[in-house]
């Protein structure tokens, strides 16, 4: 079973919820640094939360081109697919 982008997106939105301070609505176009006002320490905490949620490690060098929620979801989908693990083992969907 392959994980699809939409199910990862839903999980990422849930995972990012604690990091949204300014009541912003998360869309795929949300810029994680600019729109959410996260500093580098908060980004690190966010990455750690997503790693726990999906039971994956996100390589630092995969994050350099991540700007938007869509970019992040695509990177995570690729990592999860490469690990050949169905998302339902780790998530609640």
């Amino acid at each position: 079973m392959r994980n699809n982008y939409e199910s990862v997106l839903a999980q990422v939105k849930a995972g990012l919820a604690p990091f949204i301070k300014n009541g912003s609505e998360l869309t795929e176009g949300t810029n994680l640094l600019r729109d959410l006002g996260l500093d580098s320490v908060q980004v690190l905490e966010m990455v750690l939360e997503l790693e726990e949620r999906f039971d994956i490690s996100i390589p630092v060098n995969k994050l350099s081109d991540v700007h938007t929620l869509k970019d992040l979801t695509q990177v995570l989908t690729n990592i999860i697919d490469a690990s050949h693990q169905p998302i339902s083992r780790h998530g609640d969907i």
């Binding site: 500093d39 320490v41 390589p59 060098n61």
Partner: protein
């Protein structure tokens, strides 16, 4: 202008610093008086931010060796060892380093930064994985980037987090290099090497320890944290630098693996950099001889740790929040960047130079006043540093501060 547009926020930050009168990241040492003293802003200043752990920069044997090498071999090598050839002193230094660790081989690089870059970027390419402690020095991150390895950060010194990530890698652990530091440069804490060695053996990875801040400082013979923890058999590569405890510049990698020599033919930071000049190699060798000398090495480490304990205890008594371990790196942790900047400036006014470290260079979001201690500090100089930190707690007024400090500071040390 376009290529400079991205620096706009930096321009604003620098302007903010300029308004306090001195840029803490661009301090001029007008005269260097000794390993622990300089003149800054026309004022006599105790240096407590130099990483000169054993005070070797003014060691007479090191100075004399460098002078002699310049006279006999010239001022520079003018090229890389692959192109221009090696000086016999390069090879002697490598043999001496290998002998110091009891390992097969060592490679000398032109700086510590280049040693990390040269070794890690070559060992770990796009097919390999580097598991890197989150608090690692920038040179370790840059090494991973240059080599293109899949780089996975684990929580600082958190062995449960590391093991979780090893488990996730499955069979790929055979292609994985774990990278840690002996003493971490910002907070001065040490890596849990016994547990790292256990995990390395369990998951069949490689282990590299950067002893930049622990060489000459830890271990009965001064080899570093690996020696102190008795785990050398589990370690594949040790990186070190000459620019801290050995008092000059340069770096090295030492290993018992016969393949280390292959790096000389493939490591771009080794091949495409001019090799260290004869004077640098000569002073590094002289410093290494002193460090290895049973009595001299032990005395230097005894003085260093006595000084570190004096400062750590003094600052603790004053109620400052410090890094978790006493040692040659003592970080005063301040939550607020503006307070850190003010304190840093006022310490300098009291004739004490420390390193101001601001986020994102710090672990977490705290600002640090980072002190590094030397065997060359005298107990009176350490008292002077403590007195300056004590004065900061009494006033923020510049002139009143100097009065408090002059009242508390030990006799015999006054600005010139």
């Amino acid at each position: 202008m376009a290529i400079f547009d991205k620096f706009q926020s930096l321009v604003a930050a620098r302007q903010e610093l300029a308004e306090i009168g001195i840029d803490p990241f661009h301090v001029e040492m007008e005269r260097t008086l000794s390993a622990t003293e300089a003149v800054i802003n026309g004022q006599y200043t105790i240096l407590a931010g130099t990483n000169n752990y054993l005070g070797m920069t003014f060691d007479p044997a090191c100075q004399e060796a460098a002078i002699q090498a310049i006279r006999t071999e010239g001022t520079g090598t003018t090229g890389s060892r692959m192109a221009n050839g090696s000086y016999s002193s390069h090879q002697a230094l490598e043999r001496e380093l290998a002998d110091f660790y009891g390992w097969r081989d060592a490679i000398v690089f032109s700086t510590g930064y280049l040693a990390n870059l040269g070794v890690i970027s070559t060992l770990a390419g796009p097919q390999e994985i580097v598991l890197l402690d989150g608090d690692s020095h920038a040179s370790l991150y840059d090494s991973c980037r240059l080599g293109g390895a899949e780089t996975i950060r684990f929580r600082h010194n958190d062995m449960a987090d590391l093991e979780k990530r090893l488990r996730r890698l499955g069979e790929r652990t055979a292609h994985t290099l774990i990278v840690v530091e002996g003493i971490y440069s910002m907070l001065g804490d040490t890596a849990p090497l016994a547990e790292l060695a256990r995990l390395k053996e369990k998951y069949h990875t490689y282990l590299l320890v950067d002893e930049a801040h622990s060489l000459g400082v830890l271990g009965k013979q001064g080899r570093g944290l690996v020696e102190q923890e008795g785990v050398q058999e589990a370690v594949d590569f040790i990186i070190g630098t000459f620019s801290k405890s050995l008092g000059t510049i340069g770096g090295f990698c030492v290993s018992d693996r016969p393949e280390l020599d292959l790096l000389r033919y493939t490591s771009r930071p080794y091949i495409f950099t001019a090799s260290p000049p004869p004077s640098v190699v000569a002073s590094a060798r002289a410093a290494l001889r002193t460090l290895r000398h049973e009595q001299q090495g032990r005395e230097l480490r005894t003085r260093l740790w006595r000084n570190a304990a004096q400062l750590y205890e003094g600052l603790s008594r004053l109620g400052y929040s410090l890094g978790p371990q006493s040692g040659p790196v003592i970080a005063v942790i301040l939550g607020d960047k503006k307070q850190a900047l003010l304190f840093w400036q006022q310490l300098l006014a009291c004739g004490v130079y420390v390193n101001l470290i601001l986020p994102p260079a710090t672990p977490g979001s705290d600002a640090l006043l980072r002190c590094s201690i030397s065997a060359a500090h005298t107990p009176v100089q350490i008292e002077h540093i403590i007195a300056a930190f004590a004065a900061l707690q009494k006033t923020t007024d510049h002139y009143a501060l100097q009065e408090y400090w002059l009242a508390d500071s030990p006799a015999g040390i006054r600005p010139t």
